[in-house]
Symmetry: C2
Subunit: 328 residues, 2 copies
């Protein structure tokens, strides 16, 4: 059986999740894909720190080391921020590696460029994990858009803020306590600014905009309002009235072709589709012309949901790459 | 540009929807797929009746006529019941035609056999439209199952019964009046037995069982309870208590490997994920090991939602067939 060599860039929550799933599902994936996967390199900032038993020999702090690995074909990228991630992936694509990324900050800004580059080099870019964690919104949208036009996308795109709103409502805890718990569960970054401010949801919205509308609006024209404007007493008052706060991102193409959107807290009643979406769950609703309104709901963060869709991206690339026909 | 010849079997609501979409999206599909589609034959029971302007010359009452069409490559099947649909599709697969079907009765019983036959003849079977109308549950499940194991599936799989429950609750109309309206809107068949009794939802559940668990339970062991057991006064009493009736189908693999399931009315409160699913909408929830719980919601019936996913199946077969790489 042929061996496919892979590297993992970044070995935090998601990177480790990928490693675990690849190990746990080794035999099943071999059987389905007809190839054996070997994780040959793991890129980290401190290669002396062993995060998972028996991985120390795979660690490197140097992208040159990764690029020097003979026969490298696939790279899983789970780094945060645009750089150095984009520069690394650009070199890897030029090196004819397939790229699977969870990096929304990088992909919102450089995704179209990276996809174009991948096309030129005959490799693929999987970015399912960059939006809504374990919810397969990217693949679903790509399929639906083969026939339908999208008119509007609305959703809860950040698991951390939804988790915080839910904790505040159900357990009457302060914003700070709820945030701390989200961080302990691995949902929120050490620096929660991007989650709380709405910047994380905004980046995901821009990725969806590129996919659904073929373009993004001018970033400066989109209002992005965080959840730190909502106090525990606001949440209590709403709850007493049977209402719930959701942190909602939306984008819509107007009749004149202009894209308008925003990210902001929204009060919803029990008839609203986002009313029951609690905890770390994300939901994405798409209005299309033939199908009508489609909604996808699932875990928007966490080690395994996010890592799982990245391994699904890998499986799909292998099945396509091998010229094997499967229905996805 | 190469031409792909297609036939449509059955020219009711869904069959006509396919014809309209193929016509309306002709240029976009040509551009995306690199081939031109020509509907060469339409199989009906009365070929003298023109249902759509300028289609009379395409009509035939004979499957032999369809099979005699030179170069036929794709068939859209939107007939009801197992026979003659299965016999027709079997011959078409042997004739090396790709098959796209919306026929849940046929596919629940003969789907695995048809897929095996298609594999032997190097063609594909698309059956997205057989479950939950416009909701892409089949493709999503196939993708998720590349990495995850499914444990349980629960959903509203019949748009007609959900529409009836919604009408009864919101407009205080009788079961009979609500049913009549569903029929006028093209949701329910002329003979509503399969919808109302739960048999339609049961067939869809069996299709999901084959896909998610690789097998179906013994049909006789599954309780199937229709919605005709619920009166308007039951609905009114529930509504006054803030509860709603949903007609729910579910299947689960127990720890000992046994599959258990049922189809029955279920009373849900506002915390339940199926509470806000009104009208003709369907919802499918899947519990998996890595991702957790995924839910898909969308229109479960109607001309365009169902026809749209069949054209999506066609687009995907063409993209794969041509060996072209796309992310779906």
């Amino acid at each position: 059986m042929a061996t496919v060599k892979a590297a993992i860039l970044g070995f935090g929550t998601v990177g480790q999740g990928i490693y675990h799933i690849l190990k746990e599902r080794k035999l099943e994936l071999q059987e389905k894909l007809g190839v054996e996967l070997e994780v040959a390199k793991i890129l980290v900032t401190d290669a002396s720190k062993e995060r998972v038993p028996n991985t120390l020999h795979l660690m490197t702090e140097s992208i040159e080391d990764v690029l020097a690995e003979p026969g490298l074909q696939v790279v899983f990228e789970a780094i945060v921020n645009e750089e150095p991630a984009f520069s690394y992936l650009k070199r890897l694509v030029e090196h004819k590696c397939h790229v699977i990324t969870a990096n929304k900050v990088m992909f919102a800004k450089r995704g179209q460029e990276l996809e174009q580059l991948a096309k030129e080099h005959g490799v693929r870019v999987g970015y399912e994990a960059s939006v809504a964690g374990g919810v397969p919104v990217i693949k679903t949208l790509k399929n639906v858009l083969l026939v339908n036009n999208a008119q509007r996308i609305q959703g809860i795109l950040n698991g951390t803020t939804n988790y915080i709103f839910t904790k505040m409502r159900i357990e009457n805890v302060s914003f700070e306590d709820a945030l701390r718990e989200a961080q302990q569960l691995g949902y929120a970054e050490a620096d929660p600014f991007n989650d709380v401010s709405g910047q994380d949801a905004f980046k995901k919205l821009m990725i969806l905009s590129s996919l659904a509308f073929g373009e993004q609006p001018n970033w400066s024209e989109i209002d992005v309002i965080g959840i730190d404007t909502i106090s525990l007493s606001d949440v209590e008052t709403a709850n007493a009235q049977g209402l719930r706060y959701r942190h909602v991102a939306e984008i819509e193409r107007l009749a004149d072709g202009k894209l308008v959107g925003k990210v902001a807290p929204l009060l919803v009643n029990q008839e609203h589709p986002l009313y029951p979406i609690d905890d770390v769950y994300n939901a994405v609703t798409v209005d299309t012309d033939y199908i009508g309104t489609l909604t996808l709901v699932g875990p928007g963060a966490g080690m395994y949901p996010t890592a799982s869709v990245m391994v699904e991206d890998y499986a799909e690339i292998m099945l396509r790459g091998a010229g094997q026909a499967v229905w996805i």
